[in-house]
């Protein structure tokens, strides 16, 4: 599904990712953990080419999605981003109604069929486990929702354009425990249909939701293993020190 071969990434002179090779299967949740600045978010943003927005960056190596190198010249970035959805750390719904937020991705795709949009919005909100809470106030501003609801709205918004991959950059770090646990449940259920890559600072979260976990440190992929193995008997001492909090 997602494969990277010997990825090196630079911000100017800073060598942010060092020779990363990784494989993620369809319909699995892969968690990326590691201390701040270890490159895990940078790595995540490779897959929908969000790093393109940053000046003076350089990528070496191959990044394949479904066998296609997403950095080849023939790839349209906005088409890629329709296939690879993303949810950010802070909920960032647009200052529009709940309905329009979810419909946004469809509208920018030049879809104007009203009944299709209505149907898709409902499906997406249901998939994001938000429908029951908002079905009576779709016309209300998205800002009236709580933080956790806003984040699920952002997930619904990403789902509306039917991506096959969902990238999540610390999706629950700005939320309270109850909202966090709702998001985690959602992630767990979404893997039936989507391939999910999640960056998280919260190791327990990685343990709870993911099938495989990658541990990054100083731009290197220290260990990539089954989550069970990772949290019970990691192979590398560095991993052990990090997940037990004995780090540094």
């Amino acid at each position: 599904m997602i494969t990277t071969h010997n990825i090196d990434f630079y911000y100017g002179d800073f060598h942010a990712l060092k020779n990363i090779s990784m494989e993620m299967d369809a319909n699995t949740v892969t968690a990326l953990i590691g201390p701040s600045g270890c490159g895990k978010s940078t790595f995540l943003r490779l897959f929908n080419r969000m790093n393109d927005l940053i000046d003076n960056t350089r990528l070496v190596g191959e990044c394949l999605i479904d066998g296609q190198n997403i950095y080849s010249k023939s790839v349209q970035v906005d088409e890629l981003r329709k296939k690879v959805g993303m949810v950010f750390q802070k909920p960032n719904p647009f200052p529009k109604s709940i309905f329009e937020n979810v419909a946004y991705g469809l509208r920018v795709n030049d879809i104007s069929n009203k009944s299709f949009i209505t149907q898709r919005v409902e499906e997406s909100l249901k998939a994001a486990a938000l429908w029951d809470e908002v079905k009576d106030k779709l016309k209300k501003s998205a800002f009236e929702l709580s933080g956790g609801q806003q984040q699920r709205l952002c997930i619904a918004r990403a789902l509306a354009i039917s991506p096959s991959i969902l990238l999540m950059d610390e999706p629950a770090s700005a939320l309270d425990p109850i909202s966090t646990s709702k998001i985690e449940e959602l992630i767990y259920s979404l893997k039936q249909q989507y391939t999910i890559v999640i960056v998280t600072h919260n190791m327990q979260q990685a343990a709870r939701v993911s099938d495989r976990t990658g541990f990054f440190m100083l731009g290197e992929l220290v260990e990539f293993n089954d989550t069970k193995k990772m949290f019970l008997s990691p192979e590398k001492e560095q991993t052990q020190n990090y997940i037990t909090g004995r780090f540094g």
């Binding site: 327990q204 343990a207 989550t227």
Partner: protein, 244 residues
């Protein structure tokens, strides 16, 4: 239901399965012992492997559950008690197999002596019905089976009201065990040819007594899980009760 809760349910279900298996092992041990059914005893011995497999599975599943979901409070107590219960169940399974081995050994002895059935040796190689009666072995078996199935109900219903009743049954077992020492001593004094057989019988009764202790431990684990109380070593135990 959250997926972590579901995982916990799965874990609990595995322990229930194991429990049922061990319970049936014990019941079959009783039957084969009372009827001298060697076939059934062999079956018990071969099924012991399944009990062991259950223990390994539950052990690693519990490890994974703790590693992945970091349970706390009632969830943590449940997982911890499930680990201990599964270890204890495995021990009980071992004892059931031990009883089965006893039956098989006796059966083989009977076969060897089949032609000389009047031989006085064979008379004392197995227990005679009167002795079984005196030792109240059937009652002992039934009490143990009752303890094991009652504690299973206690876990399933998360109700610890019957824990006292189950624990008092262990005192009953200890009582029978102490009595058996006297009965067997007397019997062996009168029939020196029976000494070897009698010692084996005593070891068997000792096994039954240990099963009783293990059932008590299980009840204590259930109380720890449900009521968050530690019963261990607190109540007054019989003098022959040994913590292991």
């Amino acid at each position: 239901m959250k997926h972590t809760e579901k995982e916990l349910q799965v874990l609990k279900e595995e322990v229930s399965q194991m429990w049922k298996l061990v319970l049936s092992q014990l019941e079959k041990a009783k039957q084969s012992f009372l009827s001298g059914d060697v076939e059934m005893a062999r079956e018990i011995a071969s099924r012991e492997k399944r009990v062991d497999a259950f223990e390994l599975k539950i052990d690693s599943d519990c490890e994974n559950y703790i590693a992945l979901y970091s349970p706390v409070a009632v969830d943590l107590r449940l997982v911890l008690s499930l680990i201990k219960i599964s270890i204890t169940l495995e021990r009980i399974g071992d004892f059931a197999e031990g009883i089965a081995r006893y039956v098989i050994d006796n059966g083989e002895l009977r076969m060897d002596n089949g032609e000389v059935s009047n031989n006085s040796l064979s008379q004392f190689s197995t227990l005679n019905a009167q002795l079984v009666e005196d030792l109240q072995l059937e009652r002992m078996f039934d009490t143990l089976i009752g303890m094991l199935s009652d504690s299973f109900v206690a876990l399933e219903s998360e109700n610890t009201r019957i824990s006292g009743k189950i624990l008092s049954k262990d005192d009953e077992i200890d009582e029978l065990y102490r009595n058996s020492l006297d009965i067997l001593t007397n019997y062996m004094q009168q029939n020196p040819a029976f000494i070897r057989s009698g010692l084996k019988t005593f070891l068997l009764i000792r096994k039954l007594e240990r099963i009783g202790d293990h059932c008590s431990n299980i009840v204590e684990e259930i109380v720890f899980y449900v009521d968050a109380k530690v019963l261990k070593h607190h109540f007054k135990s019989g003098e022959l009760r040994v913590e292991s």
